[in-house]
């Protein structure tokens, strides 16, 4: 059994609009049999946090192309993307690049 883990999630670049306009979220993921990885986190976000138009955030099993993901300030492309195993107190940032500049 994996123990519950606390995460700091941050949405920016316009992605926060899909989360009621709120950028910073402290969340606790419940204890479950498998470890929490990014893939399971996205499923959890979709089920528990997304306020509207989920297709603008997740596509298939991953984030929609054009949304950047940082785990503890590093590009998730260096961290194994969906397979990254989340640790207690991790900081995950989602930045949309699909909004105007």
């Amino acid at each position: 059994m994996a123990a519950p883990i606390a995460l700091h999630l941050e949405f920016g670049g316009g992605a926060e609009l899909l989360f009621g306009g709120v950028k910073d979220h402290q969340v606790t993921l419940p204890s479950q049999s498998q470890p929490w990885d990014m893939k399971r986190l996205l499923v959890w976000i979709r089920a528990n946090m997304l306020k509207e138009r989920p297709e603008l955030f997740v596509q298939g099993h991953t984030v929609r192309p054009g949304i950047l993901v940082l785990i503890n300030d590093a590009d998730w492309e260096l961290m194994g993307e969906l397979t990254y195993e989340l640790q207690d107190q991790d900081n995950v940032v989602f930045i949309s690049t699909l909004h105007g500049g």
């Binding site: 316009g14 192309p65 950047l68 300030d73 590093a74 260096l78 699909l98």
Partner: protein, 343 residues
């Protein structure tokens, strides 16, 4: 196991560059990004020492990164440029007033002079007032046409030699695609150019120092440098067409990382068969701004607004433009058509 920076081979890599696939630490990324913009500026000879350069500043990520990098490079490489920020206030409550606050903070942070020109002072209409009259369907046409001229007018007031804008590689690829889809051959030829010479009186030369910079890198540069920028969608513009082009390109990029630069190259390499008629650029007979018609688009739109006929500049009403120029009255039928607003 953290991945080590492929450049300095010491610090922990923080991002994977979309352009090269290299894994870099923050410091090596900053210098690679800045060096590439510098190379773009030098190899395309975008500026000359002593010039006054207006940076088109919206408060968004692209223009904020552009202002920051221009300030850094101007000092580092002694370009000898006199930089200032140039902003347009479209008059959109709750959107532009907030983003202008960001620009005002940037003015302090970068210690650059700032000039704001407003639609209200230039045209007598704010976007809020225009939307009240034309509804939410064609408002982006007004905003786009007015903005282009507003930047030029602001630049002329300040005696600016050149305007640089924050258009990045992703923006340019989107524009190529949109011009292909619309069959707009004249714009297709112009949109990939890194700089445009003055096209006539009242038009200030423009350039795009971030033409080869990827959006991902711009966003991460702003994020890692903790630059202060504003990122909310314009309340009036879902800009649906560009939104689709953008999403489509992002999907392509996910499959083929070079998609963005490939589309730009396609745009650059298209050649127009001889004998294809291109619009001849002249000047607007009313305001003098560059135009391929006797009345420029902005003057036609303004005339429509001022006469309560908002559809005048939208769609094909060329015959009516002649009547307006000659100040002939419109028939009731013509008036009826131009008043109809579809929300």
């Amino acid at each position: 196991m953290p991945i080590i920076c492929s450049s300095c081979e010491q610090k922990r890599a923080m991002l994977k560059r979309p352009k090269t696939g290299h894994s870099l630490c923050k410091e090596c990324f900053f210098s690679a990004f800045e060096e590439e913009v510098h190379q773009t500026i030098v190899s395309a000879r975008l500026f000359n020492s002593g010039e006054t350069v207006g940076i088109g500043a919206s408060g968004g990520k692209d223009s904020t990164v552009l202002a920051h990098v221009m300030k850094v490079l101007n000092q580092r490489y002694d370009y000898g440029l006199n930089l200032l920020l140039l902003s347009v206030d479209e008059g959109i409550t709750g959107y532009r007033d907030d983003s202008l606050e960001t620009v005002k903070r940037n003015q302090q942070q970068y210690d650059l002079p700032l000039k704001i020109v407003s639609y209200e002072e230039l045209y007598g209409w704010t976007m809020d007032a225009i939307v009240k009259q034309v509804g939410l369907k064609n408002n982006c046409t007004f905003c786009g046409v007015f903005r282009r001229q507003a930047l030029d007018r602001g630049a002329l007031m300040l005696k600016v030699d050149k305007i640089c804008t924050g258009h990045n590689a992703d923006d340019i690829a989107e524009t190529v695609l949109m011009n292909v889809l619309r069959g707009d051959i004249a714009r297709l030829r112009r949109c990939t150019a890194i700089s445009t010479a003055s096209e006539g009186e009242g038009v200030v030369p423009r350039c795009k120092p971030l033409k080869y910079a990827y959006e991902k890198e711009i966003v991460l540069y702003a994020y890692f440098k903790k630059l202060d920028y504003f990122s909310t969608e314009c309340i009036y513009s879902p800009n649906a067409y560009r939104g689709y082009a953008r999403a489509f390109l992002k999907d392509l990029e996910a499959v083929r990382p070079s998609a963005i630069i490939d589309v730009i190259h396609s745009g650059e390499n298209l050649s127009v068969r001889e004998g294809v008629r291109m619009p001849v650029q002249g000047n607007c007979t009313r305001c003098g701004y560059i135009s391929s018609q006797a009345l420029c688009k902005s003057c036609v739109l303004l005339e429509g607004l001022n006469r309560g006929l908002p559809r005048l500049g939208i769609g094909k009403h060329n015959r009516l433009r002649g009547k307006i120029l000659a100040q002939e009255p419109l028939t009731q039928e013509e008036e009826r058509k131009l008043k109809a607003v579809d929300f």
